[in-house]
Amino acid sequence: MFKKSLLLGISLSVALISGAALAQDPVSIVYIPKNTGNPYFDSLVAGFEDACKELNCEFTMAAPATAEATSQIPFITAQTQRGVDVIAISPNSPDAMNQVLDRARSRGILVLAVNGDLVDNYEHRDAAILPVDFTKTGPGQVELVGSMIGYKGEIAVLSATTDAPDQNTWIAAMVDSLKTNPKYKDMNLVATVYGDDEPQKSTTEAEALLQTYPDLKGIISPTTVGVAAAAQVIQSAGKADEVKLTGLGTPNQMRPFIKDGTVEAVQLWSPYNEGLLAAYFAVGVKNGTIKNEVGATFEVPELGTITIGEHNVMNTQAELTTFNADNIDDFDF
């Protein structure tokens, strides 16, 4: 009993002190990834954690079980209730969370979309941190697969879900550069199929591609689940020499395939840097050292000068990073 009242007294005085010295109150950041158990986000979280060690902010992660559209909503409400300063979220839906996020923002919480944006609902978050300028992803992938197949022959795309907004932006850009760039005039996109980001469906779709298009020379899979499944299929079928695969994949997921030659190279960015940038930006805005307006710039160690672009979007890197046999062991995520 005594212990309890002592604790209460301490926490009360702590509350009083922190109330008085508001400026020294560490900024509290919570990050809500798409779902739990997704290795991609582990590395993003590490970025947040390291930045918060540096900046002395309080960081927590709260992840729902599934990546279903509504699963993040109770988490946003609970964090709003906890009174955190910043909610960073990798949204599972571009529109289902508008109202809850507005509620959080009306309480003075800074809402950041990280790694994916609320496309066409920009007014419901304060800023977005994206890895690269997404208009460059599509052409970058076409160039990579082109260089592998000598810019000649049939290629196909194995995507995530039919309405995945990021993937669809990239695929549209791929189609566009195949059409307009004379360098790619001998390359022919024969099919776009969808594996729903499920290992099993992605595998079946990849197998069907090899079956249906016997002259297929290249596959682009701009999703981490798809590219891993396609690599496994090509390895099993022993077709690494005939069909060249590339896509967006994490080094840990693709390491065995790149080492044994099934896949020459894949691309991605650093999710770690997204966490880093998000934390620096959040703390800066909360402390008043960074102005969240289009055109403003600020410095982040290791990332250099960051400029806030249209729709308050920031990118961590200019170009995609390419992982191949020479450099893949330098990365661990």
């Binding site: 739990t36 158990g37 290795p39 969808y194 290992p199 099993q200 197998e207 069907a208 997921q253």
Partner: protein, 334 residues
Amino acid sequence: MSLITKFLSTLLHRREAGIAVMIVLLALVVGAIQPRFLTLETLRIIALAIPLILIAAMGQMMVLVARHVDLSIGSILAFSSIIAGIMFRDLPDVPIIISIVAAIACGGALGFANGVIVTLFRLPSIIVTLGTLSLYRGLVFLVSGARQVDPQYIPRSLIEMSQTSPIFGIPWIVILAFVIALLTYFFLDHVRLGRQIYALGSNPVAAPLRGIKVVPLTILVFTMSGALAGLTGIIYASRFGYVNPGITGVGFEFTVIAAVVIGGVSINGGVGTVLGTVLGVILLGMVNVALPLLGVSAFWQDVIYGAVIVIALLIDKSVRDRSARALAAARSAA
């Protein structure tokens, strides 16, 4: 009636014959639209799609025959798979076979727990396993720390089991699946304990009167289902090359139940054959492979699964009604 026509008519009236005819028809129709369907390569793809469902289906079939159902196999699969993956990653010096055995044992233990709860408290298995479906998934996250086991940790030799074998290059997992099916057949048809499962399922009230130890037998059935789901977890790791705690085996129970019910196993217990289940799995595997080849959206897959379960139930019902009427007619004639 000559013996031959009698034989033919029994054959035609058997459920297995119906499924076999459907398999042939499906192959012809799909082949007519997309000739590439009728190639050896497709056969390889279908063969690879089967083991995952087939092994778990053997367990689920026994559970259904015993007049129960096991909805937790997807989570058990994930649990065994992640245990094996963690052992591969953290204990690289331990022989692979030990990890595999451990994974199967874990599956068996979870199945055992299902069986104990169902029998000890006399609860409907469907509700119990609905609960353990969530509970076991939570355990998967717990033991893995919600972290995926990456491809680099899955042993090469395990991956190769999904690719080839010295026997005509038929992948090991395919051979394994059919060996499991044969063993199940032998167990259910030639071992007393196996035959008792049918007796238990067709009349649970009378079973104890015939000297069947209902509680241990039911627990055994659930344990076998769990162990087979555990083995399926190994096949999963072998085929897909990594284990993710969140997506591995989610919704798998519906695929397996669909396959088993198509195969003519009755949800009222007591009825079902290994051959029928194998054919049901093959039919479902063919549908899975045919859809993308025909360019049909994967969205239709669930519709087809659901429709197939409902239709199979209706067929099953009409068969049972007809045989009941035939039985009644035979009785009144005598």
